[in-house]
């Protein structure tokens, strides 16, 4: 039920033909979301939603108006265009107006898998039924969420550009809780291809964590060495690559601003083994063929060997500052440029520390240092003399991300894998490694399970 390229172009052409304004961009999207939610070893809600819409932005003598609709009939599209033009006539001049792009050449990204878009309802029901059986056999209470999404999006400009792409994503998260409510495990993974979503692994990891977390002890909060599983790293840093905004840094209101009105561009801010970049065509993490403002996406390196290599310039800020607009990021890839270590190797190398499965409810507390607070969740263990000793109760942390990745604090880095932040429920993902960090600041304890 997704709109195909021909249908999308017919709508963008129609809308552009209706536009009287000097300049305009129109986007048309369609989306099919199929979900199954289960809890307490029982099916909860399940559904399929089709949605679609069009959005137009027009500029009349540099004045901008935007309108959108989910009705795609001619009259509604006309109404949408009329509304945008009405708003533009009322608006003051848009000082950040940059003319829309002319025809661009895009290198396609292969992020659409037919098998995901056409997932079988009965196969999904059986797969989740088998997870419930696993939970019952393991004497744990299972909950989880299976989501399969396919999307199409197209955009066109009055200056002659048109682009169209489709994508799919399927995710599964499982929480297993012991019957006494004293231990809980969680695991989440996603992929564009439903055939590559390892349901057995997701279910068994969640159950194992719940079982390994029983009889958690209380230990004092404080500064500990930590081993963070990739999920915990995703919860803290999932979309880090999108945070390097040039305008905020240059306006003096970002962790990448420097005294004297400067920025930290070119400075070594992270450990020299850390490289963070965006690659639209990574097969494990397909991004998008178009970056901000519709410019063709390219590989963009943000951090190279710990050095801040690029800040992100949108088209307006690039023009203001005499720079080229940044063709990304469209995803986040965190890669170790030196030798990597497995989680077991990290544990073996830890004299005294904490293994963290996951973080939850992370919110910024100080933008100057990219400081955050949040809590551990669903699996925390005390490590001593190279071995996991016992599970411990959850902690709240207060920690600067900049300090966390700074030279001297990063001890070991794992091989990156595809993982998404758990607050986003698997809707997006990054390639992120496990990390062993010398110091991490736990400030209080939580009895939550």
């Amino acid at each position: 039920m997704l709109l195909d390229e021909k249908e999308t172009k017919a709508i963008t052409d129609k809308v552009l033909a209706m536009v009287k304004a000097n300049d305009a961009s129109v986007s048309v999207s369609s989306d099919q979301l199929s979900h199954l939610r289960f809890a307490h070893n029982n099916f909860l809600t399940s559904g399929q939603t089709i949605s679609r819409g069009a959005n137009v932005t027009v500029w009349i003598d540099g004045k901008r108006g935007t309108s959108s609709t989910t009705d795609l009939d001619d009259a509604s599209l006309r109404s949408m265009v009329d509304q945008a033009e009405k708003l533009a006539r009322l608006a003051p001049v848009d000082r950040e107006y940059v003319p829309t792009l002319g025809k661009q050449i895009y290198k396609p990204v292969n992020g659409y898998v037919e098998a995901t878009a056409n997932m079988s309802l009965t196969a999904r029901a059986a797969a989740i039924g088998s997870i419930l059986s696993d939970c019952e056999k393991a004497k744990v209470i299972g909950a989880g969420f299976h989501s399969a999404r396919s999307q199409s999006s197209g955009s066109a400009s009055k200056n002659g550009n048109f682009e169209f792409e489709r994508s799919t994503n399927v995710s599964l998260s499982v929480t297993a809780r012991t019957v006494d409510g004293q231990s809980s495990g969680y695991f989440l993974r996603s992929h564009p291809d439903i055939g590559k979503l390892d349901i057995r692994r997701i279910s068994s990891e969640a159950i194992k964590k719940a079982r390994d977390g029983v009889n958690a002890r209380t230990i004092e909060p404080g500064i500990y060495t930590v081993v963070l599983e990739p999920q915990a790293v995703a919860d803290l840093l999932g979309n880090l690559g999108f945070g390097f905004n040039a305008r905020n840094a240059e306006e003096g209101r970002s962790a990448y601003s420097a005294p004297g009105g400067k920025t930290k561009l070119g400075e070594k801010i992270f450990d020299d083994r850390i490289t963070i970049y965006s690659d639209p065509w990574n097969p494990e993490l397909p991004g998008s063929q178009s970056a901000q403002g519709g410019i063709p996406a390219e590989m963009v390196t943000l951090i190279e060997n710990g050095i801040l290599k690029n800040l992100i310039y949108n088209r307006f800020w690039a023009k203001t500052k005499g720079k080229e607009p940044t063709p990304g990021p469209v995803n986040t890839i965190f890669q170790a440029s030196g030798p990597t270590a497995s989680i077991d190797e990290m544990i073996k190398a830890t004299k005294r520390g904490i293994l963290v499965s996951r973080f939850w409810y992370i919110r910024g507390t100080d933008p100057r240092t990219a400081s955050q607070t949040g809590l551990t969740r669903d699996g925390v263990w005390f490590i001593e003399n190279g071995k996991i000793q016992y599970p411990v109760k959850n902690f709240r942390f207060n920690q600067s991300v900049i300090q966390m990745l700074a030279p001297g604090n990063v001890e070991m880095i794992g091989v990156s894998e595809r993982v998404g932040g758990s607050e986003g429920g698997g809707s997006s993902a990054s390639l992120l490694p496990a990390l062993k960090l010398k110091a991490f600041n736990f400030t209080s304890q939580s009895e939550a399970v």
Binding site: G47, G65, T66, D82, L90, S173, R396, N398, S446
Partner: protein, 526 residues
Amino acid sequence: MTFSRRDFIKTASIALGAVTLPSWVYEAQAATNLYIEVNKNSLADTALSTAKKLGATYADIRINRYRLEAVSTREKHVQNVSSGQNFGFGVRVLVKGTWGFAASPIVTADEVARVTKEAIDIAKANSAFQRRRIELVPTPRVTASWKSSFKKDPFDVPVDDKIQFLLKLNEAAMETKGVTFVNSAMAWVNEQKYLATSDGSRIEQYLIRGNPSFNVTAVDRASGDFQSRASLREGQAIGYEYIERQDWLGDARLAGEEAVMKLKAKSVDPGKYDLILDPSHLFLTIHESVGHPTELDRALLWEANYAGTSFLTPEKTGKLQFGSKIVNFVADRTQPLGLATVGFDDEAVPGQKWHLVKDGTFVDWQTTRDLAPMIGKKSSYGCLHADSWGSVPFPRMPNVSLEPAKENVTADDLISGVDNGIMIYGRGSYSIDQQRYNFQFGGQTFWEIKNGKKAGMLRDVAYQSRTTDFWGACDGLGGQSTYLVPGSFNDGKGEPGQSNAVSHGCPVARFRNINVLNTAVTPSKT
């Protein structure tokens, strides 16, 4: 395509069936300049009869239109002016005790029949593996229309007026030397909701809510420091009179002064303090520490995979000491200005008001028709809600409000009883664990209290506490004169994630001996 109002009413009169709508519905819908030509009752008949024929024991259909208008500005210029509408329907069915749901933006009889069958197919596929059947408590059949309370429809106010208001607000914020940036915005939402259930209920509702906001930033380029001060007012279920009746320009001017003041404010010494919390701040603490743990779906592990469960469990009802004796929380879907105020919820249960915490004791839950029977209740409190026609309705929070003192207690009265404390205004950083024990809250402005008097400004303040310890430490509440109804325009919960708007009325309140930390300091040595 623009309808004249007369043409529109003619079309609507033919299209609309059994439910007789009041004139405001026609006027409001005509103002949108959109087609409203679907016969909702006829479409509902199609959905409900199809569902019944295919084996559903219960079904409902929601046919909803959402309108949104937003204006955003920074300093002296407009960033965006947008207007959108979103129309579609969702069908929910219960087959063999298993839910199925499907939704589409194509609002035609054929599509309603197809989508209803799809919802049935989903429920049937899943029911083969269902362990325990979902059951619903009954609710009285109702035919009704309801409108939220507002005086001036914001969608009738010219966009230019909104732009000029925001630009004046920015100008006021930047009057103070040292203010570097200001962002301001206003968003208005109109929900036009239709619900028909297989129990025979047919309900039309029309809701308006608004969310004006601003954020002022002062940057000290030499030191690289920057501080922000956001608006202390929050979104409400109200019309454009919200803009016209409040002193927004005075607020913005004060925000500018306070943003600059924050650059030079004393950084807090961590330790134990008595806290005086203004309603502009306290509402969010109520939301996280009272609103969410009293959601019955969390306590029954339905939300275990996402937002989490609750430290409250059914056997603690009527027994657990939640707070001090002066603490009373009411759940209220009828509260004036409340963002979660409705005539009826999304399964035809009327809006109600009930106590969650009475004289400090936890006494009751937020329920829906499928949750109520699980704790032996015979009826629902009406907490089912979906954020769109395309979203599955599920348990969402009503307005949860702290009752004020009966006496006329002022903020100064509470401050006078504090030797070493901090007064906090506004919504800052917030985080709480998945069972709602441990939380940390920041704010917008912080004022030292010394020997019963408000002293200088502090910064870098956040407090950490444990829910029942915190509410147990509440020893003073302001009276009705200090009571406000702030709310959160976007409260996330559920999978797929949904956003709900909800308010938390509260007076100023005092809490003793709470742990305060300094958020600017991150020790880094093991």
